[in-house]
């Protein structure tokens, strides 16, 4: 009985082993070949801003095609996750929609992790769209004050006098408004609430924060979750990176006396008129975005996303990080992001500064 049982056991066992070997013998169909001229190899682990996701997909693909032995992983789990992961040493680099916050100790934590001041360069500039789902209303004009009231739950119907006053021609129904916000920590939320608190003429009473401050409205996880929730619910309105809103309608926001639709150019213009935060250290290119600008054509509801990295890394990792980051801020990289994610390429001056900073990355 023993013998036969073992023999019976052997057949499926051998089959399973054979299957295992067959699987491990060959990689995926698309992972063979590629450019073998590159000397770089290894794995980079990054995480952070989900707004950057599309752009990062393009950058990773472009970089991995040039360097076939390199794998770059990027988990679009949110800026908060990126910064914390980087500061604990779990990540090689982070993407964040908000610069490191000195008041929360993030700058110090990054310094401890790197052993020196962390590097921070902008890599992705993109407008944040106020997207909505309302049948028969294709254009919608909103001031920051009205947007504040909607997201604070003070305006609950689409035909509220405040909205009608700004859109005299639109056929606004009397249905309820469902404001959709992010349930996770997000740099998009921080930029959005920063815009509302600066430009909302006092209608937004909460400070700028990565965490959505109120509990009313619908909560959705990640940029994609917000888009999905707006698409699923008639009468919903939410905020998300413009590159990801797809075919949803987007509102124009009031800048000066005009209403401006989100666009890469508008975001780039808003960035150009914003000063660099000079309280920062040498390798830290944080920009203080001027949300109240009245510059014609500027779209101040935009996010500037940053790459956060260390000035020094162990061994070969330094070259890897340096090469990848340089690729991102290079003209090619920025153009690829613009094609793929609809972002605005960095202004020339900023791009050159960023490249200089990345060049200082070295091995320990």
């Amino acid at each position: 009985m023993n013998r036969t049982a073992l023999r019976r056991l052997a057949a499926p066992g051998v089959a399973a082993l054979a299957l295992g070997f067959a699987l491990s013998a060959c990689g995926a169909g698309n992972e063979t070949g590629g450019n073998s001229d590159s000397k770089l190899s290894g794995t980079l682990k990054g995480a952070g801003s989900s707004a950057q996701e599309s752009a990062m997909d393009a950058w990773r693909a472009g970089f991995q095609k040039d360097n076939s032995d390199v794998t770059v992983n990027y988990d679009p789990s949110g800026s908060g996750a990126g910064v914390s992961g980087f500061n604990t040493g779990a990540l090689d680099f982070a993407g964040s929609d908000a610069a490191l916050d000195p008041t929360k100790g993030e700058v110090d934590a990054a310094k401890t992790r790197c052993g020196a001041n962390a590097l921070e360069v902008p890599d992705y500039v993109s407008p944040i769209a106020v997207a909505y789902n309302l049948d028969g209303v294709d254009t919608l004009n909103l001031s920051a004050k009205t947007v504040s009231a909607i997201f604070d739950g003070k305006i609950t119907k689409w035909n509220d006098p405040a909205i009608v006053a700004e859109n005299p021609d639109a056929k606004l129904p009397g249905s309820a408004i469902t404001p959709v916000h992010r349930s996770d920590e997000s740099g998009t939320t921080k930029n959005f609430t920063d815009y509302l608190s600066q430009a909302g003429e006092g209608a937004w009473t909460h400070p700028a924060d990565k965490v959505w401050p109120t509990t009313s409205g619908e909560a959705a996880n990640g940029t994609s979750g917000v888009i999905a929730a707006i698409k699923a619910g008639a009468g919903s309105i939410g905020y998300a990176d413009e590159s990801q809103v797809g075919d949803l309608s987007v509102a124009s926001i009031k800048v000066g006396d005009a209403y401006v639709k989100p666009s890469a150019d508008g975001a780039a213009k808003a960035l150009e008129v914003s000063p660099i935060d000079d309280s920062r250290t040498e390798g830290d290119l944080a920009v203080k975005v001027d949300r109240t600008t009245t510059e014609a054509g500027a779209y101040p509801l935009m996010l500037t996303s940053y790459l956060i990295a260390c000035p020094t890394y162990d061994g070969g990792k330094a070259d890897l990080v340096k090469a990848f980051l340089k690729y991102i801020v290079s003209t090619t990289g920025q153009q690829e992001a613009a094609d793929n994610a609809g972002s605005a390429p960095l202004p020339d001056a900023l791009q050159q500064k960023a490249e200089q900073i990345i060049d200082t990355i070295s091995a320990k």
């Binding site: 023993n2 794995t43 794998t71």
Partner: protein, 356 residues
């Protein structure tokens, strides 16, 4: 018999049976209810769900009233409960049918050779493949099996052959039962905390997933193996002892081979149970676009996490990735069903011959 024959026939006509509805009454009532509901529903232009709900209500009320007038109150209650039981069954089957239908309908367009042999590395704006996730799932599950089977099997042997009714054995048995109820996310948190302490904060690797899953798998293995070992007849053991074979050799050479079929079934079912776990892998394994064959280094993709992240974080091409998520769900269900089938077949194939 004789009693019946000699029973007085002078009595007035007393029916021996209560009047009964014909056997086809429930079906007839159902048919009438469906027709009536369809008629009402169509005139009021309801959707299918409304019509079906109305039909059920008409059927329940109608049949009960009919039975009450013809039969009696007790019979009416009986018919009502019978109908309710069948309605419950019907309602319970709706989600299963709609789930399978939806997954097949949404997932089958994604299935093709490329889907199964490509990874998502360097794939933008077009459908890629889930090869990396399949490989990851197999490796992680294999790791979990390698950890759970020895521990689970040996524990079961202890419980049946050595511990029996000792205090330790009773505690193990009881806590294993309780352990089957550990939420999977807690197992993930445990593995994360453990690996953070051992290998530095934020460590993510495929083997960690194996550890987390084994925590969920061990109790299932122990329970099924224990049941199977108990079924081995004592005669076999006694015979072996009588031949002077030591106990440990008896267990390995006689008891285990006899119970092998059931144990393999149990292990396969346990694998089927944990192969679809998402929450722990999300925390401890992370995700990647590329194939990773090394369970001890770097993030590893898996089918459930791929489904979750593709559906909830699809990025700029949501339609493509959502279709892929449904396709991956279909592949995962097929794998799970296949494992269940294998388990049943193994149970039959390895069953000890009963011809003594």
């Amino acid at each position: 018999m004789t009693d019946l024959a000699t029973a007085p026939e002078t009595h007035q006509h007393v029916p021996l049976r209560h009047p009964r509805l014909p056997a086809f009454a429930p079906l007839l009532a159902a048919g009438i209810a469906a027709a009536a509901a369809a008629l009402i529903g169509m005139t009021l232009s309801w959707n299918l769900t409304g019509i079906v709900a109305l039909a059920i209500v008409i059927h329940l009320v109608g049949l009960t009233l009919w039975s009450r007038t013809v039969e009696n109150a007790r019979a009416a209650t009986d018919r009502l409960v019978t109908s309710l039981v069948w309605v419950a069954l019907l309602i319970a089957m709706i989600p299963l049918v709609s789930l399978i239908w939806k997954v097949v309908q949404e997932g089958s367009p994604a299935l093709n050779a490329k889907f199964l042999t490509w990874s998502m590395r360097n794939v933008i704006g077009e459908p890629g493949g889930i090869y990396h996730a399949i490989v990851g799932t197999l490796i992680i599950t294999l790791a979990a099996t390698v950890i759970s089977v020895p521990i689970g099997l040996l524990s079961a042997i202890y419980l049946v052959e050595y511990g029996d009714q000792s205090k330790l054995a009773r505690w193990i048995r009881f806590l294993v039962d309780v352990m089957t109820g550990i939420p999977s996310i807690v197992a993930g948190l445990f593995a994360y905390a453990l690996f953070s302490i051992l290998f530095g904060p934020g460590t993510q690797m495929g083997f960690g997933g194996g550890v987390a899953l084994s925590l969920l798998m061990i109790p299932i293995v122990v329970r099924s193996a224990e049941e199977m070992l108990k079924l081995v007849p004592a005669d076999l053991r006694e015979a072996s002892y009588a031949l002077g074979v030591p106990k440990w050799r008896t267990i390995i050479k006689v008891v285990l081979p006899t119970a092998m079929g059931g144990i393999i079934t149990g292990v396969t079912l346990a694998v089927a149970r944990v192969i679809g776990e998402t929450a722990p892998l999300l925390i401890i394994c992370g995700g990647t676009d590329s194939v990773n064959f090394n369970p001890f280094h770097g993030q590893m993709a898996s089918l459930p996490v791929f489904i979750y992240s593709s559906y909830t974080q699809p990025g700029s091409n949501p339609e493509i990735l959502k279709t892929m998520a449904w396709g991956a769900a279909l592949v995962l269900i097929i794998i799970v069903m296949a494992l269940n089938l294998v388990a049943r077949l193994a149970g039959k194939f390895f069953a000890p011959k009963r011809g003594r």
